[in-house]
């Protein structure tokens, strides 16, 4: 690989006007954090981009990490040369020779320094001609080239870019505030976490467990999911709620067809309390309209009534197949399909009410010590911080 730089460009952040700098600084910190595993790499912030000097770190490895950082629109490998035309020509040839797979190319040159004597279009012609003369496997295609060689002539140096890699986009994590996400262990909620984090939210997750009805493996499953999701933020906080007593109480006191509705209402109350404690300004769920009994409009109405926090439902208009597709992309799918019971699948009624009614639900709750159950659950929460680099665990030394 000839490239000694990676140039990272921002997406939507550039539309942020006066706040732009804040966003860029946050992104720079995120990138620094992620690239700590590459101690040689140096990061420099410019007005329009972040420049990463690789210093012998493998560009493919660094690229793979950057591809997952929210707020990055695209990344180009680059070389730097002097502004002398001969140097630029030689640099362009090096890039053309590096990208051997291409059959057609285009030069897109630009002067940042408008005093530079050669105009962009003249540069295009000159450099294109140079490539044509030296690389007999390449032809020009200005509309749909296999290889677009971009050249940027600055004040002291020129950058020549190789093939651009698309980033995930979105906003830097945390710039939108904190969100408490209900993480079940299924396919949907990790995708909801991903999409919410992509819009700049710092995610904390809350998971309900009901031992002995749910097992340690169900817990491990959620921890494994959290590890995956952590790759998109810096760290990931997971709250494990002991939910057995609440579920047993519901089973004993509430008519079968309303159990899920009431259970969800308790979950939302517990999640709200935890959110306020942790400074989160919204809840998020993996609900998709009409997917299951608790996700009809009537259900959402009845369940939503227990909290005033906004509830983000990034999957609300998505089909199951599309959700699964994203789950596969972010590598949570394989974990989500592990077949362990979670708290939503135990005490499952034969025919849950698909159109529950708020007044009925409230009446049934009179038979329950709702506040006591909620408080007991919140107090019993076990909080796990899944930090970057925490792949180390008890068995690490065996391997």
């Amino acid at each position: 690989m000839i490239y000694d730089y990676l140039v990272v460009r921002f997406g939507e952040i550039t539309l942020k006007g006066k706040n732009k700098k804040q966003f860029v600084i946050k992104l720079e910190n995120d990138v620094r954090e992620k690239l700590r595993q590459f101690p040689q790499a140096e990061i420099k912030r410019h007005f329009d981009d972040l420049e990463i000097k690789l210093n012998n770190e493998k560009s493919a490895d660094v690229l793979n990490v950057l591809k997952k950082v929210f707020g990055i629109q695209n990344i180009s490998p680059a070389i730097k040369v002097g502004t002398d035309l001969d140097e630029i020509r030689a640099g362009v040839l090096r890039v053309a020779e590096q990208e051997k797979g291409a059959q057609t190319f285009k030069i897109a040159a630009r002067r940042k320094d408008k005093r530079y004597p050669i105009h962009g279009s003249e540069l295009n012609q000159d450099l294109g001609g140079t490539v044509l003369r030296h690389c007999d496997w390449l032809n020009v295609d200005v509309h749909n080239p296999d290889l677009m060689i971009r050249v940027e002539v600055g004040y002291h140096e020129a950058r020549i870019y190789g093939k651009e890699v698309v980033g995930v986009g979105g906003l830097p994590v945390g710039t939108s505030g904190k969100v408490m996400l209900l993480l079940s262990g299924g396919i949907d909620s990790p995708v909801a976490a991903y999409l919410t984090a992509k819009r700049g939210a710092l995610i904390e997750a809350i998971h309900f467990q009901s031992p002995p009805y749910t097992s340690d493996r169900a817990k491990q499953k959620v921890i494994d999911l959290s590890k995956r999701l952590r790759e998109f933020g810096g760290k990931f906080v997971l709250h494990l709620v002991p939910f057995t007593n609440a579920q047993v109480a519901i089973r004993d006191a509430v008519p079968e067809d309303y159990r899920i509705t009431i259970m969800r209402r308790l979950m939302f109350r517990i999640a709200e309390k935890t959110a306020l404690k942790r400074g989160a300004m919204a809840l998020a769920t993996g609900e998709s309209l009409g997917q299951v009994a608790s996700q009809t409009l009537e259900s959402m109405n009845t369940i939503n009534a227990v909290t005033n926090l906004p509830i983000l439902r990034p999957l609300i208009a998505m089909d199951k197949l599309d959700i699964a597709q994203i789950a596969k992309q972010i590598d949570t799918y394989e974990i989500s399909i592990r077949p362990y019971e979670d708290c939503c699948t135990i005490f499952l009624p034969k025919a849950p009410r698909t159109r529950p009614d708020r007044t009925h639900a409230e009446r049934f709750e009179h038979k329950l010590a709702v506040d006591a159950l909620v408080n007991e659950a919140v107090e019993g929460i076990e909080t796990i911080v899944i930090d970057s680099g925490s792949t180390q665990d008890a068995v690490s030394e065996l391997l």
Binding site: S215, R217, L398, L399
Partner: protein, 380 residues
């Protein structure tokens, strides 16, 4: 002891033995058991798989833990041929494969598959042009070893793999038992669908191996049963072996760069030393060969005699591939390279590990020179 038979097997690292013992003792529960002891074992299995995947730069669900190279080759070759038998019946391999691949193809031939065996040149290398000539529309499987186990020749895997990238209906299997950690090979970039690796060749426990199965590749399992290893290989997982192998994998790859440089120097030392011995004919080519193997004939001296004489001096080399060295007759690879039976029967294989030292080789070369000289006078 100077052990120069590392292509047959290696000495397990002490750290690997520690892991093997600890896991056997404390993680004996079946990973498929529902209780928490089973959960502990399952967790360890998952972590092993993740670590192996990270080291090989593949996905965890692309790893099938096997019992070694022979099983890996059989599962890959027969498994792919059976799974895709309705797509076509033509298979391509070479004349110099390890017995576990070669005999699997013989079985498939008996079942009605048609097999093209690519010849090799005098360096023991197949030619890309020959491969292209043999390739047909109904070719469902191409299986080629990366590094030959007898002479160390490297095959043009990347070139063939690049061609097969455009042929989604042909499965590409690479037997990398000898090449692994000796000649770098990137699985994802080389268009490889299946790749066999063995644990005991890299200082892991015996009875362990990995078959890389690229996502989306079908295999008909050889063992039917409980559906372990993503349905490809049923049977209770050999957790102590797996953990030990994954540790050996990590330790080996951590030293890979320096290890290969070191082996190259050692190989040069052998080439130089052998050049000074009268009647020594080196079969390992100078280019396109793995740095850990040197195959050489000493004219007029039967290899078996030399092996036994060296062993009296606590030096261990081998005649040909250990798996076929008990059968009489000349080596398959050397014969395929056009070497006469007589010369082939005089060949010994010297195979090194990262731990082999220059002074080991110094002693070996000195002893060898001496003994070869003596044998010649005796036999004359």
């Amino acid at each position: 002891m100077i052990y120069l038979d590392n292509s047959a097997t290696t000495q397990p690292y002490p750290e690997v033995m520690d892991t093997y013992r600890t896991v056997s003792e404390y993680y004996f529960a079946n990973p498929s058991s529902l209780h928490s002891l089973g959960g502990k074992s399952e967790h360890l299995l998952t972590r092993s798989r993740e670590q192996a995947a990270a080291l090989l730069e593949i996905e965890p669900n692309e790893i099938v833990f096997t019992s070694g190279g022979t099983e890996g080759n059989n599962l890959a070759i027969k498994g792919a041929a059976f799974a895709y038998r309705n797509r076509g019946r033509h298979l391509i391999t070479t004349t110099i494969e390890h017995a576990s691949a070669g005999n699997a193809f013989a079985q498939l031939e008996a079942l009605g598959f048609e097999v093209t065996y690519l010849p090799v040149n005098s360096d023991g290398r197949v030619s890309f042009d020959e491969f292209i000539k043999a390739y047909r529309k109904d070719t469902i499987l191409v299986s080629i070893m990366h590094v030959n186990n007898e002479v160390g020749t490297i095959q043009p895997i990347e070139q063939i793999g690049n061609f097969l990238k455009q042929k989604p209906k042909t499965v590409f299997h690479v037997d990398n038992v000898q090449g692994f950690s000796k000649v770098p090979l990137h699985l994802k970039e080389s268009g490889i669908d299946l790749c066999t690796v063995s644990g005991h060749k890299i200082h892991g426990p015996k009875g362990t191996g990995i078959l890389y199965v690229r996502k989306g590749t079908q295999l008909s399992p050889l063992f039917a049963g409980g559906g372990q290893e993503h349905q490809f290989r049923s049977g209770t997982e050999n957790l102590p072996g797996i953990c030990g192998m994954v540790k050996a994998l990590r330790m080996t790859l951590e030293n890979e760069r320096e290890g290969i440089d070191h082996l190259m120097k050692l190989q040069q030392q052998l080439f130089d030393g052998l050049a000074k011995i009268e009647g020594a004919v080196v079969h390992t080519p100078k280019h396109f060969s793995s740095p850990h193997i040197v195959n050489v004939s000493f004219l007029g001296i039967k290899s078996e005699v030399l092996v036994h004489i060296l062993e009296k001096n606590d030096i261990y080399v081998s005649t040909k591939s250990a798996c076929s060295s008990k059968e009489s007759g000349a080596s398959g690879t050397l014969t395929a390279m056009g070497i006469s039976d007589q010369e082939a029967e005089q060949a010994i294989r010297i195979s090194m590990a990262y731990e082999t030292t220059e002074s080991d080789l110094g002693v070996f070369l000195q002893t060898l020179t001496e003994k070869v000289g003596q044998l010649k006078t005796v036999m004359r």
